[in-house]
């Protein structure tokens, strides 16, 4: 574990995170050991893979493929189910003090509530509601995240059932107004917002076999390609709400992370960036952010958060 630079610490809800960087859901988030390894690599918090009520194997391969400037994925919400996840979280807690956020999904408003309540037993530092997975259309229809009322209902219901555990709603940019959706989530009691999930979705077709490569035909686009869209989304959300935002999407460098913070993010999610930069991405981005603050003579990220709005 590298020495933490105190100045890139942030206050997030009632936690102090040693770094603004948060492992995004779905990446290296299946097991306690994997999550601990990411925490040790320099993340300020880690998020689990989204889990539902029952174990799901997800789609057959290929389910994750690099394309020219990003990744396409349609893993089909594969996950070990909430019971197993609760065990992993407990195991993580016993071994690691870095805050852990548990991501959940459900097929109905009520199911979101059920999963959240089950997850609450593990006392995660935050429950993230994945209302925005674009890859299970045939099963669940278009993502809740595209429907502002459904998103509101899920937020409200989960909030009722998890008590004091903070919740963050993970928003999609594939909606009419991410700013308005964010505002409604805040009104319904969301403690934070995560934005964005993958965009598109996108498709890659192989020219020789003339078939889409992903077994699900299409998958969500993440990685460098989506950074500008994510920055814009965070900017729009931050204009509408005062709760903290985990700005996620396409971050691979300190400059990218700083754009998120200037747009109004409190923390910065990193997922696909691990493919592009390895697990060292956390240290590298932390150091780059630190260097930027030093060069500009700034004491902490608080001094620049959201300043691109001025």
């Amino acid at each position: 574990m590298t020495e933490r630079q105190t100045d890139i610490e942030i206050e997030f809800l009632h936690m102090r995170l040693c770094s603004p960087l948060v492992l995004a859901s779905g990446v290296l988030g299946l097991s306690s050991s994997s999550l601990k390894r990411v925490a040790d690599a320099g993340a300020g918090a880690v998020t689990t893979k989204s889990c539902g009520l029952e174990p799901r194997a997800g789609y057959v391969g290929p389910s994750i493929i690099p394309v020219s400037h990003g990744m396409l994925n349609a893993v089909g919400l594969s996950n070990p189910g909430v019971k197993e996840m609760v065990r992993e979280v407990a195991d993580y807690r016993a071994r690691c003090r870095t805050p852990i956020f548990v991501s959940i999904f459900g097929g109905t408003v009520e199911e979101f509530g059920d999963v959240a309540e089950a997850v609450a037993q593990a006392e995660p530092d935050l429950i993230e509601l994945n209302v925005s997975c674009p890859n299970v259309y045939s099963e669940f229809g278009s993502p809740f995240g595209a429907d502002i009322d459904a998103t509101a209902a899920i937020t409200r219901r989960v909030k009722q059932r998890v008590g004091a555990i903070p919740i963050s709603v993970k928003l999609t940019a594939n909606c009419l107004s991410i700013g308005q959706t964010a505002k409604v989530c805040e009104q319904e009691g969301a403690d934070a917002l995560t934005a964005i999930n993958t965009i598109g979705p996108g498709m890659l077709i192989d020219l020789n076999v003339r078939k889409p490569v992903l077994s699900n035909l299409c998958g969500g686009l993440s990685g460098p390609a989506i950074l500008p869209v994510a920055v814009r989304a965070v900017w729009e959300i931050s204009r509408e709400v005062s709760i903290p935002i985990i700005g996620t999407g396409g971050v691979t460098t300190a400059e990218d992370a700083l754009q998120m913070i200037l747009a109004g993010a409190t923390a910065v999610g990193i997922g696909s960036g691990i493919y592009y930069q390895g697990l060292e991405i956390f240290d590298k981005v932390n150091e780059g952010v630190q260097r930027f603050l030093q060069e500009k003579g700034l004491g902490s990220l608080d001094e620049i958060r959201g300043t691109a709005h001025e």
Partner: protein
């Protein structure tokens, strides 16, 4: 860029025995022994396979039919396009005076290793164990080297387990490194013997894999949390030491580890 999906026509198929075939593709990457690829049968699924040879751009993989995907690939034919992503992971580091121990289809990556060792004029002994004669691949080719074979049913080579043969050989000779690949029970026994004699090892492990590029978390090993697809599949004793799940049932596609009931 080969981490992206590319499709190539099958250039050659060799049937070693029923349900045991090698497939060849011309492609454009370079790889070291121990690395693997993800193989896509369009419209079916994608699964990891070790590289069993790569020379002059001709890639060989050797597949044993054990389930739906590997059965399906047995019916793939010359000219069929299959998708290949890779090479992935860390392979074997070359050491002189080594013992290679392969179990069943686990001999595949060691065969590529043996070719490279021979090319680099390193000394080595190659042990292969299998259930039966039909499961022994490359025996003709390998007999050019110092090669010993065991089968459980005694139908080829010495009867018994490869680890018994290994015991005998290690009692006589000393080695600078043990390379191994095969069923996990065998690997555990190999590691015990290596540690007992303080011989360094490099062992290729298998876990359920999805992305092959270190993102999905499917292949992360309990304990240290290392990603087998990126930090492995070849692990040294240092890497193995941090792992607590060796010998346990593997996590499946959901991420669950089957628990004893």
């Amino acid at each position: 860029m080969s981490e992206k999906m590319s499709t190539y026509p099958i250039r050659r198929v060799i049937e070693h025995s029923p349900g045991l075939k090698s497939f060849y593709f011309y492609q454009d990457f370079d790889a070291v022994p121990g690395q693997f690829i993800e193989l896509w049968i369009p419209g079916v699924d994608e699964k990891p396979f070790s590289i069993s040879d790569l020379s002059d751009g001709l890639l060989e993989i050797s597949v044993k039919a054990v389930g739906p995907f590997t059965e399906r690939i047995m019916s793939c034919d010359l000219g069929d396009y299959l998708g290949v992503r890779g090479p992935f992971g860390r392979g074997f580091k070359i050491v002189d005076n080594a013992l290679l121990v392969g179990g069943g289809i686990g001999a595949a990556p060691l065969r590529f290793l043996a070719r490279v060792l021979a090319r680099e004029e390193k000394e080595f002994v190659f042990l292969v164990g299998a259930k039966s004669k039909e499961d022994v691949i490359f025996s003709r080719e390998l007999s050019k080297y110092r090669f010993y074979c065991t089968t459980e049913d005694g139908s080829f080579g010495r009867p018994g387990l490869v680890t018994e043969e290994m015991e005998r050989i290690m009692a006589k000779d000393s080695f600078a490194c043990i390379y191994a690949s095969g069923p996990e029970a065998m690997l555990i026994r190999v590691m015990e013997m290596a540690e007992a004699r303080s011989v360094p090892f490099q062992i290729s492990f298998e876990r359920y894999m999805k992305c092959g590029i270190g993102l999905c978390g499917q292949c992360c090993m309990d304990g240290s949390g290392i990603r087998l697809c990126v930090d492995g599949p070849v692990l040294t004793q240092d890497a193995v030491r941090g792992i607590t799940e060796i010998g346990l049932p593997h996590r499946d596609a959901t991420g669950c580890r089957p628990r004893p009931t």
